[in-house]
C-alpha cells in the first residue's frame, strides 16, 4: 500500500500580532507544519507501522518551506516531495489543488492520499476534495477513524451530531479531523533519520500546468484583525431568578432571544 500525505507550511498563529489599527503583523512569525496536517502525517505513519504502508509526503511551498521537510520526515514519511515555487506565497485552494494533483500524477497515484481537513491559516477545506475531483477518485472528509482492509479504506466521518462509516476502494483521498490521533513528538532517532531521508524537489514548470490552472480564483485584497466588542454588563442585583430575567430581557432587546 502506498500513501502520499500532503501538508502546508503555515505561520504559527501564536506569533501573529494584531495591532491597534487591526493590521496583521506576521513579521515575527515562526513557520510550522499546519497542526491538522500533522494529524494526517501521523495517520499515515501509523499505517506505515501497522500495515507496512509506504509513505511519502508532499508539500507546495516557497523556498522557505524547505525548513519543513526535516520536521515532516521525522514524523514518519520515507521520502518528501517539495513543489518549490514563489507562487505559494499567493495561492488559493484551486491553484494548490491543481499543483498537488499534477505532482501526484507525476510521481504516481498512490492507494491513499491523506490531508488535514483544512489548513490552520485559511481553513478553506478545499484542497483535499479538489485533488480527489481532479484525479477522479473518491474523497472522504471529516474523518475521525480509519481502517484499511485489502484494497479499501473504511472511515468514520464525524458530521454534525452523528457519525457515518464510509468505505471506499483504492485509490481515495482522506481528509482528517484533529480528533483522529495525537501527532507524535519526533524522537531523537526519528529526527536523525529524517536528515538522511531523500527529498525530491519538483519544479512547477515540470508539471505541465496551463496559466489558467495557475491563476488564483480568489485574490486576497487585505487581511485585518477583528475586535470582539463586549457589553461588559454585570447582573449583580436581585435574586438569581431576577438576574436571569434581566439577562433574557436584554438579549431580547438585542434580537437574540
Amino acid at each position: 500500500m502506498k500513501i502520499i500525505v500532503c501538508y502546508k507550511w503555515v505561520p504559527d498563529e501564536q506569533d501573529i500580532k494584531i495591532a491597534a489599527d487591526l493590521k496583521v503583523d506576521m513579521s515575527m512569525a515562526k513557520w510550522k507544519i499546519s497542526e491538522y496536517d500533522k494529524n494526517a502525517i501521523e495517520e499515515a505513519a501509523l499505517q506505515a507501522e501497522n500495515n507496512a504502508a509506504e509513505v511519502t509526503c508532499l508539500t507546495f511551498g516557497t523556498s522557505k518551506a524547505k525548513q519543513s521537510l526535516k520536521d515532516a520526515l521525522s514524523r514518519g514519511p520515507e521520502k518528501a516531495y517539495w513543489v518549490n515555487d514563489a507562487k505559494a506565497e499567493n495561492t488559493d485552494g484551486f491553484v494548490t489543488a491543481n499543483i498537488l494533483a499534477a505532482a501526484i500524477k507525476k510521481v504516481g497515484i498512490p492507494d491513499l492520499i491523506f490531508f488535514g481537513e483544512g489548513s490552520e491559516d485559511s481553513y478553506g477545506q478545499q484542497v483535499g476534495p479538489r485533488v480527489a475531483a481532479l484525479l477522479d477518485i473518491p474523497a472522504l472528509t471529516f474523518v475521525t477513524k480509519t481502517a484499511v482492509k485489502d484494497d479499501a479504506i473504511t472511515t468514520t466521518r464525524s458530521i454534525g451530531n452523528c457519525t457515518e462509516d464510509v468505505t471506499a476502494s483504492f485509490p481515495a483521498v482522506v481528509c482528517m479531523l484533529p480528533e483522529i490521533n495525537k501527532p507524535r513528538i519526533p524522537s531523537l532517532k526519528q529526527v536523525l533519520k529524517a536528515s538522511k531521508k531523500p527529498v525530491e524537489e519538483i519544479k512547477l514548470a515540470d508539471l505541465g500546468l496551463s496559466d489558467a490552472e495557475l491563476t488564483v480564483k480568489n485574490k486576497v485584497k487585505s487581511i485585518q484583525g477583528f475586535v470582539m466588542n463586549r457589553k461588559n454588563k454585570l447582573y449583580q442585583d436581585g435574586s438569581s431568578a431576577e438576574k436571569v430575567k434581566a439577562l433574557v430581557s436584554d438579549l431580547a432587546k438585542e434580537g437574540l432571544a
Binding site: 504559527d12 501564536q14 506569533d15 491597534a20 515575527m28 513528538i185
Partner: protein, 96 residues
C-alpha cells in the same frame, strides 16, 4: 500602548507556551510543603506560579513556567520534582 505596571498573568500572556497537558514538568509534594515554614517559592518565582491557598496549601500551576529553575534551587525541603518540559514543550522565547 504605553509601558505600565503589569500583573504577571498579563505579562505571561505575551509569551509563547506549548503546554504539555499530560506531563507536568514540575510536581510538588504537598506533604513536604505543608511542613515548610519559609515557603520561598511564593516570592522567588518570577511568574508568581506558586500561591498559598486558603487551606494553607501551596497551589501551583506549571503552565506559564519560564523554566528559570529558581524554585528548584530555593526549595530546601526537596519538595519539587523538577524537570525541563519534554522537547518542544514549555516556553518559547521570541526575543530572549
Amino acid at each position: 500602548m504605553t509601558v505600565k505596571k503589569q500583573q504577571t498573568d498579563e505579562l505571561l500572556g505575551l509569551d509563547k507556551f506549548a503546554v504539555d497537558e499530560d506531563n507536568p514538568h514540575v510536581v510538588i509534594d504537598k506533604e513536604k510543603c505543608i511542613k515548610c515554614t519559609e515557603k520561598p517559592c511564593l516570592v522567588v518565582c518570577p511568574a508568581k506560579l506558586y500561591k498559598l491557598g486558603q487551606d494553607g496549601q501551596i497551589q501551583f500551576d506549571y503552565a506559564g513556567c519560564l523554566e528559570c529553575g529558581t524554585c528548584r534551587v530555593m526549595c530546601s525541603h526537596k519538595a519539587l520534582d523538577w524537570k525541563y518540559p519534554q522537547g518542544t514543550f514549555g516556553v518559547s522565547f521570541r526575543f530572549g
